[in-house]
Amino acid sequence: MDAGLLAQYVMNGLMLGMMYALVAVGFTLFFGVLDVIKFSHGDVLTVGAFAALATYVGLRMLGLNSSWFELVVMLVVATLAMAFLGMVIARYLVMPLRSAPALNTLLITLMLGTVLRESVRLFYPQGANPKPFPALLPRASIDLGEFNLRLDNVLMLTAGVLVIVGIQYLLNRTKLGLAIRAVAQDEETARTMGINFTAIVLVTFALGSGLAAFAGVMNGLYYNEINFGIGLYLGVVGFSAAIIGGLGSIYGAILGGFLFAGLQTIGTVMLPFASAYKDVFAFAVVIAIMAWRPTGLIREKISERV
Amino acid sequence: MSALLEAHGLSKHFGGVQALDGLDLAVTANEILGLIGPNGSGKTTFFNVITGIYNADAGRVMFDGADVTNASARAIYQAGISRTFQRSRLSLPLSIFDNIMIGNHKRLKQGLWFNLAKRRDFKREFERSYADARALVEVFEPGLAGRMFEPVAGLPMIDRRRIEICRALISAPKLLLLDEPSAGMTHDETAELMNDILLVRKRNKDLTIIIVEHEMGVIERITDRCVVLNFGRKIAEGPYRSVAADAQVQEAYLGAA
């Protein structure tokens, strides 16, 4: 296969992986602080994307159309809105269930996901249709043989990487990050260290959900189309990615995200059978990985006192 | 007197921490051995290695004449060692009876066919086990005997301890490992519990006990002999009085304090 084509596949894989990683990181954050899986994550992403779209439409109505300005406003609005939504979810759906079995949280957030998804479909104007998402980034592109390098893809990739690095920095280098990690380590100790547990949990959920909104906007910019269903699939994939990477660390999520994207691309390109089998392939590998590394590629340290 | 349990050069480390460091230890049949030492001196680790929760890095363990080094937890239990846990590990939603029956595993028929199809035979076995469990519980707290089918979750700490000890005793083990039975209980409660244990022991003569305990009163009262650990090594051995007097021991405790 010629280099240009290869490069193209790599680019596709990277974009996809970045998207998955952003979602997966969210899962890892929630799991970190509360040991819960918030399955509505994917649908929060959807709502975030639609919030951004609505903002765009609003701005257009106001007659403002400088794409950079629009983009910034969209990002800000979507992120803040979802951050708030995330807090609400944490406060009224997740935290009340802390005493109940983990599965209850999983189910309640799944159902919440359905609520969000259905609400978008029913209450967003023509929400059942796929919606065009404005291409606000410069569309310049150079053709290198089979490889068509687009400025907007590069920008998105950079943005995505920056965000992930930012989260990483925030967790490892800041007071807030320290607090989050303390809570993640052990709630009691954190309390005794005088950390406001509830506040940290809410902040973390805000952070993760804001991240989802960002991923949603990225998704929209990349595909120039959003629909009420995007979150469901991204949610499941993001979850799997976080798991195979290892819920223990944020690196796991990132690794998992890019790994899954890689598997799908390989499944389409290199495997003898029809490209439709790529998910069969990808998920089969996921299962295999779980059999091989039961706690993910980057092992979670489970120390049990007996 | 032959040794019931013998450990030779037993070692276990976690990361950098050397929890057990070439420990030699022997318990003779029918004795009550006190295992003491400052926190993190390797007492519980010793239990966990013996009972197959951890594998030893080095060393051998002989029990009742057989080599049980790194045998599985199941094998150890089958061989006749049962234990209690430092932090009570009962199955809270289950009834008192159920929890005790978990300890009775090796004496209950486990076949699918027996359990599913032969309900009459099962009922007989069930009634027999119920009688045993009830009798045992009565030794500790007659009050509990009438509440065999209530969930453990509703019971106070002392009763939970009692149930946990019943769970360990129901299978009539040769060796009983008690990991800080006094934890989370008042002084009197502990004393009461110890008396009950001794009572049970009187009934079946060949019960050997190793007890890990911080309450020195308890140790003094019930143990025939003590082994003092520090940094996974045995630093003293003998009757409580003598080891308590031992300079090295005092230093270890003060150093730890």
Partner: protein, 384 residues
């Protein structure tokens, strides 16, 4: 607690009777407003009963006199069927409830007892259904045997997941079955041998020349052909129920609970963790598979879309709604989950939304499910 108050059988019978009457009314109701009224009335009544502690009395009575009440429940099911003897659709619903109950019983053994997560319930259900589709299309295997094979194949497919399932815990275990669920559906869609997304027709059942797909005429009364399937499904459910009950009320049930609640402790008392996890997982999938096989035949049609991850989640949500580990609870939940969205067809587009909101409400305000599992009684009503 049952030890003290010796409840009589009557509260149980009364509760059963009312519930049956209500169910019949609900199934019979066509008008939207009527359904809404019934729904409201039902909710109010249940809340009131709960508030007056009547629910506890009823469940206590069930704990004490289970065998007698189980018999009554069978009677109740027959009564429902009798009322709607010529109403194809309602009977189909009833059958759906019965077979979903069997499947969730299987799930209950896995998750409720052994604590083995299974988010691919619908997939194993599907394996059963496709088995009967393929066998009835290409072979002349006797149909009752087909059901059995369906169960066995489901169990076999499950055993492919054993290694990862046994090695992983909690959320990690969840992803294994989730991945399998997605994999399974995509696989069905892309391969042509099994009809692809098109799905396959399934022939009606025949046992000793008796065709299940013909209406039955007794004198003047015409019975829907679904009556045949109703009887078979009911038998299946009873069988599954007895199996699961005996399992729970035996040392095996105890083993499963023990390893679910504390593997380490269970290990220290000689439990063979692996053996019992495998046992639970296989028995569970076997039940799910059989139910699926029969359901495939009843529906007369199988397609990948029947067996998506979402459907697996519905099965799991039934488990949680009913009260994990309580067979009675999950049968009640099955009725709600199957019948309600169907009845809410009248408000077409909004029914998923409402269903989801309802589940959320239950999880928030009754996290241990509608009928929490009582402590194990090895022999109902047994006293020393």
């Amino acid at each position: 607690m049952a030890e003290k108050g010796h409840t009589t059988v009557w509260p149980g019978i009364a509760g059963l009777a009312i519930a049956t009457g209500y169910l019949i009314a609900m199934l019979g109701a066509e008008k939207q407003n009527l359904i809404i009224i019934l729904l409201a009335a039902g909710i109010v009544a249940v809340l009131a009963a709960g508030w007056l502690g009547l629910l506890e009395t009823v469940s206590a009575s069930f704990v004490e006199h289970e065998d007698a009440l189980a018999a009554c429940a069978i009677g109740a099911a027959c009564a429902v069927a009798a009322v709607f003897h010529d109403n194809h659709f309602v009977l189909l619903l009833v059958i759906t409830v019965l077979l979903y109950s069997v499947a969730t019983l299987g799930l209950n053994v896995q998750f409720g007892y052994a604590g083995v997560l299974n988010f691919a319930g619908a997939s194993f259900f599907g394996i059963g259904a496709y088995t009967s589709a393929v066998l009835s299309a290409y072979t002349s295997v006797p149909h009752l045997l087909v059901l059995l094979i369906g169960g066995l194949l489901a169990a076999f497919a499950g055993s492919l997941l054993l290694l990862p399932v046994l090695r992983t815990r909690g959320h990690y275990a969840a992803v294994v079955t989730i991945a399998f669920a997605l994999l399974f559906k995509t696989f069905l869609e892309v391969n042509d041998v099994l009809g692809g997304p098109q799905g396959m027709q399934v022939k009606g059942m025949r046992i000793l020349g008796w065709s299940f797909n013909d209406n039955i005429e007794i004198g003047k009364i015409l019975l829907s052909f679904y009556m045949n399937y109703f009887v078979l499904s009911l038998l299946l459910l009873v069988g599954a129920f007895v199996l699961v009950r005996r399992l729970e009320r035996s040392w095996i049930g105890l083993n499963l609970d023990a390893l679910r609640l504390d593997e380490t402790a269970a290990g220290c008392f000689g439990l063979d963790i692996v053996r019992w996890k495998i046992t639970a997982f296989l028995i569970g999938n076997f039940l799910i598979g059989i139910a699926g096989a029969l359901f495939g035949i009843v529906g007369g049609f199988v397609a990948p879309n029947n067996y998506t991850f979402a459907d697996s989640l519905i099965l799991v949500s039934i488990l949680l709604l009913g009260g994990i580990g309580n067979p009675w609870g999950l049968m009640v939940a099955t009725i709600i989950v199957v019948v309600l969205p169907e009845k809410l067809q009248t408000i077409q587009e909004y029914r998923f939304l409402l269903y989801a909101l309802m589940v959320i409400a239950v999880l928030l305000f009754r996290p241990e499910g509608l009928l929490p599992r009582p402590v194990r009684r090895y022999f109902p009503g047994w006293r020393p």
